[in-house]
Amino acid sequence: MLAKTTEAATHRDALGITGLSLAIGTGADTVPLLAGVTVRVGRGETVGLVGESGSGKSLTARSALGMLPRGARTTGTVTAGGVDVLGAGRRELRDLRRTRVSMIFQDPRASINPVRRVGDYLTEGLRARGVSAHAAGEKALDLLGQVGIRDPLGALRRFPHEFSGGMLQRVMIAGALSTEPELLLADEPTTALDVTTQAEVVGLLKDMQRAHGTGMLFVTHDLDLAAAICDRVYVMYAGRIVEEAAGSALFGAPAHPYTRALLEASPSVHGDRAVIKAIRGRPLALAESPPGCSFRDRCPLADDACAGAVPAHRRHGASTAACLRPEQVTP
């Protein structure tokens, strides 16, 4: 992987997922969901996790908080904020969520209690840590100002339904950062927002992240968005990581055929009006993907060799890709 080992030794990563495999069900009914997923988020780093439906991107992000499907069996390790998540008890996990790792979701309305005031929402995490009511109120006020809510004092007394989607997502960001977490998991946090609001919320997230030194795992289906804001990007397909690349390199030099196919399938407002190339078939989940490389049924480069085994990650340019012939993707 691209990890600088010397740096990793001195600075603990905000998140380290190593060789995570996850399955539900037993015996013949076993359904594998993730296989050998390795993801690292350094302190203060923005890392993208990109994929289509069923790729396992949300599941991977949730695993960082120990939010696994009922009856899930796992191998591999997940270390978030220095805590061994898969080995942690309920108490430890609750403590982790309360103090070191926060998460924001696509639909802020689904993850905030609609009958409690925004002020209560913002202060509960702090109060649980033993901060006095007065100090917690001050902190909430300060955070609301930072995330660009006009009239923060009034906002504390309002209910979630009194905010627009974009404003409520700002409130969620304020809540997520109130505990000064090491790691922020952002699961499609701007997907439900209008494009102009998305730009503002992303700008805010980046500013807040810089100010607080938070590591961020940004889960999205939007390759352009990931490439624009992330230091590094992982591309997922059918429960596996298929490419890891620097955000800036993703467009110029995709190393996995799937990444390249996604780029070619996306229309763009930039450059000349180009034809788009549809990828045949549909995105698969791990359980329904063929042996060997999961993408080979849809891949223009695939041949018999791709059916043999799941390709190991190999270096190509500034990326690593799980492909036997990345040099044919981008020479």
Partner: protein, 268 residues
Amino acid sequence: MTIPVLRAESLVKRFGGFTAVDDVSFELMPGGSLGIVGESGSGKTTTARILAGLEQPTSGTVTLAGRALEGDSRRARRQRAGRLQMIFQDPYGSFDPRQSIARSIAEPMRLHAPGTRKEHRARVAELLDQVGLSSRVGEALPRDLSGGQRQRAAIARALGMAPRVLVLDEAVAALDVSIQAQILTLLDELRRETGISYVFVGHDLAVVRYITDTAIVMRHGRVVERGETERVLRAPQHPYTRLLLDSIPSPDWDLERVARDRRALDPR
């Protein structure tokens, strides 16, 4: 001189004291594709619903294939349905969950195209093939279909009535990128082959650029910019169009500039 297949003149729609659509006019030529671009609250979806007869305009007229659309009678709606069909973001709600896809496609066709059962069956098979669905999918129930297949089925059903105009309201917005590309190329092919016209309502400028020739940009119910899609995107005249363009993530994304654009538009 060709006459427009669809013409909207000074459409206004008020809900109580709120004006959702405010003096909107446009023309769509036969075989053309018009984009209606905007964010939530722009009035783009209400405009589309007026075209499809799902809302009655407070004032203004819609002319379809040379005939003014008036009234909300059964007859008027049926006439309109034969010439204009609408595709929604999630077609799931518009399919009877207990009916096979093939039957759902055949049913409206029976109302609009006379013929025997056998002829209808043959036409359904043809339509399924045209949108790239197997006959096995035709026998399936809506819940057994993926999002992309369902959108193909909705397009097949609409085509069954041989409409002149298809109104697509965020029709590819909920689909995965790889599936979205399949539907976009399908729509492209259909237009080339059949000469059907599109009104494509959407927020994604890249998609609008791909699928339309001309576009209007709407904000707060009004048209703020109109023209050839390429011109609108290459040389936007209105500050709001510029804001929309600058808001699209790109490798040299400048979030400061987005904030500046926004302030220029709504000085506080």
